[in-house]
C-alpha cells in the first residue's frame, strides 16, 4: 500500500462516515434531552426514499433533500408524541418507526415507480455532485503529499459531506455554549430541576427531537442522492444502528462522535481491501470479523471493561410531573 492507496482508503472512509455522522449527531440531540432514539435507522431510510423519489420526480437534488428532511422530521415528531405526550416506551416507539420506514418505503416505491421497491436511477442535477475546492489541481501537481491530501481527501466531495463535518463544531457549540444546549443537557439529566425552574420539559424535548429529524433527513438524502444514485430496498442496512453504537462509543459527545464515525467508516473501507490478505501471526482475517467489529467494540465499552459509557441520567424515562 503506497501513499496514494492510503489516501484512497481514507477518502472512502470519509464518504462512508458521513451518513453515520449525520445520524450520530442526530441521536446526540434526542438522547441528550433524555429520549432514547433507536429509530435513527428508520428515519435515515424514510429520508433516503423521500429524497430519491422527490429528486426523481422534480429533477432537483435540493428538493429531494428538503423532502427527506420533512419526512424525517415527521417521523421524529411521531416519536416525540409517543415519548412526551403518550409517555410511551421510547424503545418500542423507535422499533415501530424502523419497521414503518422499512415497509412504507417499499410499498410506495412499488406503487409509484414499479421497479421492485427501488426508485429510478438519478443523474445530473438529481444528485449532489462533487465540489472541487479552489487550487486543488494546482496543489496536487506542485506540492508533494500535502497537495495530494488537499486535492484527494479534502477537495472533491459533495456539499453534504462538508455540511456533515460542519455540523460537528456547530453541535459542540450549541450543546456546550448556548442556553438551549445547557437546557437540553439538563433536561436529559434532571428534568425535575427544569420543571421547577418553570421550563417545559416536553417542549424542550420536542425541540431537540426536531433537530434530530433535520440531521437524519440530511443523512438519508446523502445515501440516496449523493453517495448512491437511487433508493434501494433497505438501503441503510443497519447504518442507523452503527451510528447509535458510535454515539454510545463517543459517550454522547460531538467531536468524539466524529472520530468514532471516521473509525467505523475506516473499518468498512478496509473490509474490501483486507479480503484474502494474510497477516503475520493471525493469518487471514474473515471479512465478517471486521464487519462485526463496531458492534463488538460497543458491547465491550458498554460493559465497562474498557472505559465506561454513562448515558444521560434520565434517558428513556417519560417525565411525569408530581402532583
Amino acid at each position: 500500500m503506497d501513499f496514494s492507496d492510503i489516501i484512497l482508503v481514507l477518502d472512502s472512509s470519509v464518504r462512508l462516515a458521513v451518513p453515520l455522522l449525520f445520524a450520530a449527531l442526530a441521536g446526540l440531540y434526542s438522547e441528550r434531552s433524555g429520549v432514547v432514539d433507536i429509530g435513527l435507522e428508520g428515519k435515515l431510510l424514510g429520508a433516503a426514499f423521500a429524497a430519491a423519489a422527490a429528486a426523481a420526480v422534480t429533477g432537483s437534488a435540493w428538493i429531494g433533500l428538503g423532502a427527506g428532511i420533512v419526512v424525517s422530521i415527521s417521523m421524529a415528531m411521531i416519536h416525540a408524541f409517543a415519548s412526551v405526550n403518550m409517555r410511551g416506551n421510547q424503545i418500542i416507539s423507535g422499533v415501530a418507526l424502523n419497521f414503518l420506514a422499512l415497509g412504507v418505503t417499499v410499498v410506495l416505491a412499488e406503487a409509484w415507480f414499479r421497479r421492485g421497491g427501488n426508485t429510478p436511477n438519478l443523474s445530473g442535477d438529481q444528485r449532489f455532485g462533487s465540489i472541487d475546492l479552489p487550487f486543488a489541481a494546482e496543489a496536487q501537481a506542485n506540492i508533494p503529499f500535502v497537495g495530494e491530501i488537499y486535492a484527494q481527501l479534502i477537495s472533491g466531495h459533495n456539499i453534504l459531506v462538508y455540511l456533515a463535518f460542519l455540523a460537528v463544531p456547530i453541535t459542540a457549540y450549541v450543546m456546550f455554549h448556548t442556553r438551549f444546549g445547557l437546557r437540553v443537557r439538563a433536561v436529559g439529566e434532571n428534568p425535575t430541576a427544569l420543571d421547577t425552574a418553570g421550563m417545559s420539559v416536553g417542549w424542550l424535548r420536542y425541540q431537540a427531537i426536531f433537530v434530530t429529524g433535520i440531521l437524519c433527513g440530511a443523512g438519508g438524502a446523502y445515501l440516496s442522492t449523493a453517495q448512491g444514485a437511487s433508493f434501494t430496498d433497505n438501503m441503510t442496512a443497519g447504518r442507523g444502528f452503527i451510528a447509535l453504537a458510535a454515539l454510545i462509543f463517543a459517550k454522547w459527545r460531538p467531536w468524539q462522535a466524529m472520530f468514532t464515525c471516521l473509525l467505523f467508516g475506516f473499518l468498512s473501507a478496509m473490509q474490501i481491501r483486507l479480503q484474502g490478505v494474510e497477516f503475520p501471526l493471525i493469518g487471514e482475517v474473515p471479512v465478517q470479523a471486521i464487519q462485526a467489529l463496531p458492534y463488538i467494540l460497543t458491547v465491550i465499552l458498554l460493559a465497562g471493561f474498557v472505559g465506561r459509557a454513562i448515558p444521560p441520567k434520565s434517558i428513556g424515562q417519560p417525565y411525569v410531573k408530581e402532583r
Partner: protein
C-alpha cells in the same frame, strides 16, 4: 388534567388493545387506499388467502408457529420489565442446530426432532447469555447489547455459512436433511391431508407446548413469581433477598431457548437445510405479537395466528393485487407495535370520559380525589 382514573378491567385488558389494533388496521387501510386500491377488497383477498382453503391454512399455521416461539420469547422477558430485541439473532445462531439434525438424519425423525430441540434451545440460550450477564452484572442496557448481538450474529452466521459448514459446491447453504430424518408434515397424518403442499409440521405441537410451558412458568412456579415481581418492582425483589442477577440471566436464557426453537420449525422442519438469513424477520414479528397479545400466552397464540394469516394472506394479496407489495405486512406490523406498544394509552382520556360519565360512583370518587389533591 387529573391523575389516571381507574377503568374497568375489561376496558384496559381488552377494549383498549382492541381499539389500538383496530386503529393500526384502519391506517394500514388508508395506505392501501393511497396507492389506489380498495382496502376492503384487499382484506377479503387476504382473508381468503389465509383461511379460504386447506393449503392457505397450512401456511398460516406454519408462519404462526415461528411467531409463537418469538412472541413467547419477547413476552417472557417483558414480564421481567425488560425487552429482548435480540430474538432475531438468537434464532439465527440456533440455526446451527441443523448440524446435529444432519448428523442424525439416518436414524428416525423423532431422534432428529429431540436432538435439534435440545441443540437449538441451548444455542439460543447461549446467545442470550452474554447480553443477560452484561445487563445483570455490568448494567449495560440489554436493548442496546441485544441489538448489537443481532448484528454480530449476522456476521458470525454469514462466516459460518460462507466458510465453515457450507455444502461443497454451494454458496452459503448447508447440506439437506435426508428424507429418512425429516419431520413429518401435518398432511402426512391421516385425516389432515387437506393441508395440501403447505409446510406446517409437527413443530406446531412444540409451539403449543411452549405456550403452556410459559403460562405454567409465569403463574404457577416460584421462579415465575420472581420474574413478575422483578417486572413490577425491582427494589422490592432485592429487599426480599432474591438475586435479580440470577432471575435476569435464567429468564433471558429461557427466552433465547424459545427463540432458538424457530430453528426446529423453519430450518430443520421446512427448509431442511440452513441458508443465509433464514429467520427472515420472524424475531422482529415476535415483538408485535407479544405486544398485541399483552404478553399472555393465549394472547400471544392468537396474535401469532393473526400475523401468520397476514404473512400468508399478504403473499396472496401481492399476487392478486400487484400494486400492493408484500411489504404492506411490515407496515401493519409497525403500526401494531406503535399503537399497542408505544401509544397504548392513546384512547385512555376518551375512555375515561365515557366511563366516568356513565357511573355516578366514579364521578364522586373523582371529585373526592380532586379536592384531596387540590
Amino acid at each position: 388534567m387529573s391523575a389516571r382514573q381507574p377503568l374497568p378491567h375489561w376496558v384496559t385488558a381488552f377494549l383498549m388493545p382492541a381499539l389500538n389494533v383496530a386503529l393500526a388496521f384502519v391506517i394500514g387501510g388508508l395506505v392501501v387506499l393511497a396507492i389506489g386500491e380498495n382496502p376492503l377488497e384487499a382484506v377479503s383477498v387476504l382473508i381468503y388467502g389465509a383461511f379460504g382453503y386447506g393449503e392457505g391454512w397450512g401456511y398460516t399455521l406454519h408462519f404462526a408457529t415461528n411467531f409463537m416461539f418469538t412472541g413467547l420469547a419477547v413476552a417472557l422477558v417483558f414480564h421481567m420489565g425488560m425487552f429482548n430485541i435480540g430474538v432475531e439473532g438468537q434464532a439465527y445462531v440456533a440455526g446451527l442446530a441443523i448440524m446435529v439434525a444432519l448428523a442424525f438424519d439416518q436414524t428416525h425423525w423423532t431422534v432428529v426432532f429431540v436432538t435439534s430441540i435440545i441443540t437449538a434451545g441451548v444455542l439460543g440460550a447461549m446467545w442470550a447469555l452474554i447480553p443477560a450477564y452484561l445487563q445483570a452484572k455490568r448494567g449495560s442496557h440489554i436493548v442496546i447489547t441485544t441489538i448489537m448481538f443481532n448484528f454480530i450474529a449476522s456476521s458470525l452466521m454469514s462466516y459460518m455459512l460462507g466458510q465453515v459448514i457450507t455444502r461443497p459446491g454451494a454458496n452459503a447453504e448447508t447440506e439437506t436433511i435426508d428424507p429418512v430424518g425429516r419431520l413429518p408434515l401435518l398432511r402426512d397424518i391421516p385425516g389432515l391431508e387437506f393441508f395440501g403442499f403447505s409446510p406446517v409440521n409437527v413443530s406446531i405441537f412444540l409451539a403449543i407446548a411452549a405456550g403452556f410451558f410459559v403460562y405454567w412458568l409465569l403463574w404457577h412456579t416460584k421462579f415465575g413469581y420472581k420474574i413478575r415481581a422483578l417486572g413490577h418492582n425491582p427494589n422490592a425483589v432485592r429487599y426480599a433477598g432474591v438475586s435479580a442477577v440470577t432471575v435476569i440471566i435464567i429468564t433471558m436464557m429461557i427466552s433465547g431457548a424459545l427463540a432458538g426453537l424457530v430453528a426446529v420449525n423453519e430450518a430443520v422442519g421446512v427448509q431442511k437445510r440452513l441458508v443465509v438469513g433464514y429467520v427472515n424477520g420472524a424475531g422482529f414479528v415476535g415483538i408485535a405479537v407479544a405486544f398485541m397479545g399483552r404478553s399472555h400466552p393465549i394472547g400471544v397464540a392468537l396474535s401469532a395466528l393473526l400475523f401468520g394469516a397476514l404473512y400468508q394472506g399478504g403473499q396472496e394479496l401481492a399476487f392478486e393485487m400487484p400494486s400492493v407489495s408484500r411489504d404492506m405486512v411490515v407496515v401493519i406490523q409497525a403500526l401494531v407495535i406503535l399503537f399497542t406498544g408505544a401509544m397504548s394509552e392513546l384512547f385512555r382520556p376518551a375512555l375515561e370520559r365515557v366511563f366516568s360519565a356513565r357511573s355516578p360512583g366514579a364521578e364522586t370518587a373523582k371529585a373526592a380525589s380532586e379536592s384531596g389533591s387540590g
